[in-house]
């Protein structure tokens, strides 16, 4: 890892921690009990991918309640908070909630669907990379419970059959199904693909392992399954360990570490201050972007002079009923 990468990881880890603490204190936002993927190891995994802001980098689905990797792909605390607070300014315009959203230019794809479904979708995205001969790969975070779904296996089977460049991270969920993640080597063997376990690795080790997996995927080596345990046990412990390591190894000084922490905190605090003043969405936004060119009708009972047939107010096409 380069010094820049180490500093970025420290910064994003502090951002994540401040975000979670702030949400829990806010009283009006909710952070799911089993939020995963905010720990530094998830960020390290995402950092090992190729990043771009022009839609030509790797693609990452941060997973359910898993904002850490999104930070690595350029998401900002303000975007998270707007999403959580369903502000009209949120990336999904308050039409969809959750902690992830899609911004293909930055390589972010929202985790929207049943457990396992996003593995199918990212396998298809990786298929596109392979078809075009691009040096790109897809990364998806799933809860280990995805292992129990047919959809996840269908996605992995497709990815394995086409040997597409996708990396699937299975995160121990801390809820029912715990321990399933330990079976991924058997699963990977069944599909004829690679599995790596990174539980005992240092952050530098994780970074190197994922970089290797990414390189292998991008040259036709096929998918890789990654097991990530302990992400919910004490998600900040790994960050503190990483900070200590960076300090001990001389990558940062104590003063630099503190200034990184303060900068991250200031950014998050500023984002909190902004969202409390921002309005919710306009109700009419509920009619937007359902289908291209044919938005739904407004409720006729809310027209100025309601008539059941709507004839007095407008011609028959939906869009012009105002």
């Amino acid at each position: 890892m380069s010094r820049d990468e180490i500093e970025d990881l420290l910064y994003q880890g502090y951002q994540g921690r401040r975000l979670e603490e702030g949400v829990r204190r806010s009283g009006f936002l909710q952070w799911p009990e089993h939020a995963v993927g905010i720990d530094t190891r998830s960020i390290v995994i995402a950092r090992a991918m190729k990043h771009a802001v022009d839609g030509r980098g790797d693609l990452c689905c941060p997973g359910p309640m898993s904002p850490g990797p999104a930070l690595a792909f350029g998401a900002t605390p303000l975007e998270f908070l707007r999403q959580l607070a369903h502000r009209g300014t949120s990336p999904a315009a308050a039409r969809a909630g959750g902690m992830s959203w899609t911004d293909l230019r930055r390589g972010l794809i929202g985790w929207d669907g049943a457990s396992g479904m996003m593995t199918q979708v990212l396998a298809g995205a990786a298929l596109a990379f392979a078809q075009r001969g691009e040096n790109r790969a897809a990364l998806v975070f799933e809860s280990e419970r995805a292992l129990d779904t047919g959809g996840w296996h269908e996605g992995v089977n497709f990815a394995a059959a086409r040997r597409v460049p996708v990396i699937v991270v299975l995160v121990a969920s801390g809820s029912a199904g715990v321990g399933r993640v330990r079976q991924i080597e058997e699963v990977a063997r069944a599909y004829g693909i690679t599995a790596v376990s990174i539980d005992q690795d240092s952050h530098a080790g994780i970074f190197a392992t994922l970089r290797a997996a990414r390189r292998r995927a991008a040259v036709g080596g096929g998918p890789t399954l990654v097991a990530l345990e302990g992400a919910t046990d004490d998600r900040w412990r790994s960050h503190e360990e990483f900070a200590s390591w960076a300090l001990t190894e001389g990558h940062v000084t104590a003063g630099e570490l503190e200034s990184i922490r303060q900068a991250a905190a200031a950014g998050v605090d500023h984002a909190f201050a902004r969202i409390v003043k921002e309005p919710g969405p306009e109700p009419h936004d509920a009619l937007a972007a359902v289908r291209i060119g044919s938005p739904p009708l407004r409720p006729w009972t809310r027209l100025k002079s309601p008539r059941p047939d709507g004839v007095a107010e407008a011609p028959m096409e939906g869009p012009s009923v105002n």
Binding site: W101, A123, A128, A130, A161, R291, I292, M316
Partner: protein, 340 residues
């Protein structure tokens, strides 16, 4: 890759009439030649050419990367198609039989249909395949699936009745930025009476526009797919009674061409809806409600429907014939309605 062009995609180029199936194959072929982003996915569509041979010869011309034989996992490969569409490709997914689309219901309704709305961008994706009964295929190879998806905002549903419309609408569907469910009645695939000369030029039919298959003054029949042909047969018989029937071929079910339906009903004052799909929850209910809202004062009789009965599609010929709406059913309903 081979430069040979399969005969079944050259009917129009050769100036010969095409069947419904050949029209579908021509549309796919031409779109794949026109746009390298277009690719096909489905079970046995490559070396085998598909269950109905729509894609015979495609893999030799376009290669295995654009004619992808998938695992037998409709949900999985439809989800993968969604991912490819996110990345700018234009997947056309073949369901071997549309009955098998149900495993993909989750990804289509929860993910694909909501993509634009969630801010995840347009998802250009076509899911096409054979539907419909009359081939003694039984409950799992004969269904009409439109109403399973009709209730899902974000999707489009196309169901053509002629080779020209099949070709033109499929090309439109592939070029559309919205996800499209494209239903092909297998009873039309090789029907000799459907064979027709198709336009030589790039033939595109807009999605969302119904057509008047027959003009009349006394009674409107709104229908689609194979039932257009049954309704035209019935209209010919009713004409012998002096009943002039107007037949509206919906062509697209979602979005529904409400304007065309209402205009016809305002002209004739009577509406009969004919669909092969089963009765309860069929599209007839929605159309009747639209007419109730938009043309109630113009009605001179009750809105009637002729549909399949509420049953799984039977296997035996005797049972299936009883199950499916017939020309005689449409004639009976037309005569009944004409007496108002």
């Amino acid at each position: 890759m081979s430069t040979d062009v399969p005969v079944h995609v050259t009917r129009t180029r050769s100036g010969k009439p095409a069947t419904f199936l050949e029209a579908i194959a021509e549309a796919l072929w031409e779109e794949m030649e026109r746009d390298e982003r277009v690719f096909l996915m489905g079970e046995d569509i490559g070396a085998y050419g598909g269950a109905f041979k729509v894609t015979r010869g495609f893999i030799e011309r376009f290669g295995a990367s654009r004619v992808i034989d998938t695992p037998i996992s409709e949900g999985g490969f439809t989800g993968a198609a969604a991912g490819a569409a996110h990345m700018g490709l234009r997947p056309v997914v073949e369901m071997q039989f549309m009955d098998f689309i149900s495993p993909a219901y989750d990804v289509l309704t929860n993910y694909v249909a909501t993509s634009l709305y969630r801010g995840a961008g347009p998802l250009p994706l076509v899911v096409r395949g054979p539907v419909g009964g009359g081939n003694r295929g039984g409950p799992f190879h004969s269904q009409n699936v439109e109403m399973a998806f009709f209730h899902t905002p974000g999707l489009k549903i196309v169901y053509p009745s002629t080779p020209a419309d099949a070709k033109g609408l499929l090309k439109s569907a592939i070029r559309d930025d919205d996800p499209v469910i494209f239903e092909e009645h297998k009873g039309l695939y090789r029907a000799p009476h459907c064979r027709e000369l198709l336009p030589q030029q790039d033939h595109v039919v807009p999605i969302g526009k119904a057509r008047t298959a027959l003009e009349g003054e006394d009674l409107t029949i709104v229908t689609y797919g194979l039932m257009v042909h049954r309704s035209l047969e019935a209209a010919a018989e009713l004409a012998r009674d002096g009943i002039r029937v107007e037949v509206i071929d919906l062509r697209t079910l979602l979005p529904l061409d409400e304007k065309a339906i209402v205009a016809s009903v305002r002209k004739t004052g009577k509406l009969l809806i004919v669909h092969e799909d089963t009765r309860t929850g069929g599209i007839a209910g929605e159309i009747a409600m639209r007419i109730n809202e938009r043309a109630f004062e113009w009605l001179d009789g009750p809105i009637l429907r002729v549909t399949a009965i509420d049953s799984p599609v039977p296997f035996s010929g005797e049972l299936e014939d009883f199950f499916l709406p017939s020309v005689a059913d449409v004639v009976t309903a037309g005569r009944y309605l004409s007496r108002y």
